[in-house]
């Protein structure tokens, strides 16, 4: 196993800081190792509230996201779906004045408890709206994460790079361009490279924040196919404004509005027979 499970740490300044958005001492999360934990399993959230200062961006959200499924978050701009997505890898820790309460579990890990945040982010990868490859070679982009986690041997890195690019269905098109700059790739290729980079550290969860909104239909189709392949091994949670995309590839859909989770269920049910009138209005385009 290339990536050994890291150990849980005790509640410290870091996790405390995470809930309040204040800066924590560097390395505070990695100290005080205790017991083994696993990120394998469902994502369970109970009674989550999130505030940016006085503004409440998420209101009492409870949701169970099944592992190895694709779950889509939909809703109008500003409804809280991206904010909620970022809770799963504690990206909101970096936001000054952000306060989060409630229970967040991935597998058997309380992600706002006594944990190593670096380990959380290795297990919960993220892909953003705009492709953001590092200004370095294709190979070094993929090897960046594994190197950070202490893998130095060339043979091991070669294996990871090939596996990750194969998982992202890019090996054949990039195997002869591994030393070329990632910035020379097309937008669609860059985005798939970012997915491959996230996969290089063998995450259990992949968060995607509008991953295809800047891409042409062919690149979009490739990423959608890729998501359907990936869900055999990884839990995919995706924010999308594209209703057809949510309907096409997700197993579950959650509709957010003004910080509330209005409706959550099987995608087929949501798009055939939504239970809530607001969901119906939104997905049929009559909202507003």
């Amino acid at each position: 196993m290339l990536f050994a499970k890291r150990k849980k740490t005790s509640e410290g300044a870091a996790s405390q800081a995470a809930r309040t958005g204040t800066s924590a001492p560097v390395g505070a999360e990695t100290a005080q190792a205790e017991e083994q934990t696993s990120y394998e399993g469902d994502i369970c959230v109970k009674g989550a509230d999130l505030y940016y200062g006085d503004f409440q961006a998420l209101k009492n959200i409870s949701i169970d996201i099944p592992e190895k499924n694709i779950t889509a978050f939909i809703g109008p701009s500003g409804c809280g779906k991206s904010t909620f997505l970022k809770c799963f890898n504690r990206m909101n820790d970096l936001v000054q004045g952000c306060k989060i309460t409630g229970e967040f579990r991935i597998g058997d890990v309380d992600i706002y408890g006594n944990i190593d945040v670096n380990e959380l982010r290795r297990n919960v990868g993220m892909v953003f709206q705009k492709p953001n490859p590092f200004p370095m070679s294709v190979y070094d982009n993929i090897a960046y994460g594994p190197r950070t986690f202490g893998i130095k041997k060339r043979a091991a890195l070669d294996e990871i790079v090939e596996r990750s690019l194969r998982q992202a269905a890019m090996w054949e098109e990039l195997k002869d361009r591994l030393t070329k700059s990632a910035l020379g790739l097309s937008g669609g290729q860059q985005q798939r490279l970012c997915i491959a980079r996230a996969l290089a550290v063998s995450p259990k969860v992949l968060l995607m924040d509008e991953p295809t909104s800047a891409l042409d239909p062919i690149s979009t189709g490739k990423i959608e196919d890729l998501c359907l392949e990936l869900k055999q091994d990884v839990t995919v949670v995706m924010v999308t404004h594209n209703m057809q995309q949510a309907a096409r590839i997700s197993d579950k859909t959650a509709f957010f509005l003004l910080g509330d989770l209005i409706e959550y269920g099987d995608t087929d049910e949501i798009f055939d027979r939504p239970k809530n009138k607001k969901t119906e209005e939104y997905i049929t385009g009559r909202f507003g």
């Binding site: 309907a247 798009f271 055939d272 027979r273 997905i283």
Partner: protein
């Protein structure tokens, strides 16, 4: 209003379906009246009405495909468009069967009927009522009316069995008297077409229920 153009197209689709339903009722009414009065002229008129039904079917089909292509309907919009596409097939078949009845009426118009037509007339009244009610269920989005249509089909099926028994007796008697029993067989065909119209009305009612609930159940 958001999606004004889409809503206008959906309203047009509904209006076209209502019109097709009206033509359907007219085709059956003409065929049944022609049968009861042995009016060949009126029977011929059914054909003209049937071609209007066909025209509407094609128009609705094109509109549904255009809506799916351009508007990508979901939820209640998708149920409405898909049920419309399914309903028009049954509506078109109803008009075809009205013409089939009319063709037999024209054939039988010169001779008095071998049977009193009491049960056939009863069947005709009932299926007309079913088709009318199925159209109303669609216009009013009434699940209750749709279910009434489905329930009404049993009586039509029972009447067909009665007619079949009576006409079988007439055919036997005809053969004994060296007649070929052709008119009794034609009347049996009329009864069968009426029974099929009842089935199509039931199908339409089931699609109305699908449009309302999202579940397609066979209710008869």
């Amino acid at each position: 209003m958001v999606r004004k153009a889409f809503d206008e197209q959906l309203a047009l689709l509904k209006a076209l379906l209502v019109k097709m339903g009206e033509y359907n009722c007219e085709a059956i009414a003409d065929a049944v009246t022609a049968l009861e009065t042995q009016d060949a002229e009126l029977a011929r008129k059914t054909k003209a009405v049937e071609s209007l039904v066909d025209e509407k079917e094609q128009q609705i089909e094109r509109l549904c495909l255009k809506l799916i292509l351009k508007q990508q309907p979901v939820a209640s919009d998708l149920l409405f468009v898909t049920s419309a596409m399914k309903m028009i097939t049954d509506m078109e078949r109803i008009a075809d069967q009205a013409v089939d009845i009319s063709d037999l009426v024209i054939k039988m118009s010169r001779l008095p009927y071998a049977d009193s037509l009491e049960e056939i007339t009863d069947m005709a009244e009932r299926v007309q009522d079913m088709v009318r009610k199925a159209a109303e269920a669609f216009v009013e989005t009434s699940g209750e009316k749709a279910k009434e249509v489905c329930r009404a089909d049993d009586a039509v099926d029972d009447l067909f069995e009665v007619v079949k028994g009576k006409l079988t007796g007439i055919v036997h008697k005809d053969i004994e008297e060296d007649n070929n029993g052709e008119q009794a067989l034609d009347l049996l065909m009329v009864a069968k077409y009426l029974e099929k119209i009842g089935d199509h009305a039931t199908n339409i009612a089931e699609w109305v229920l699908f449009m309302i609930t999202g579940e397609h159940k066979k209710l008869n």
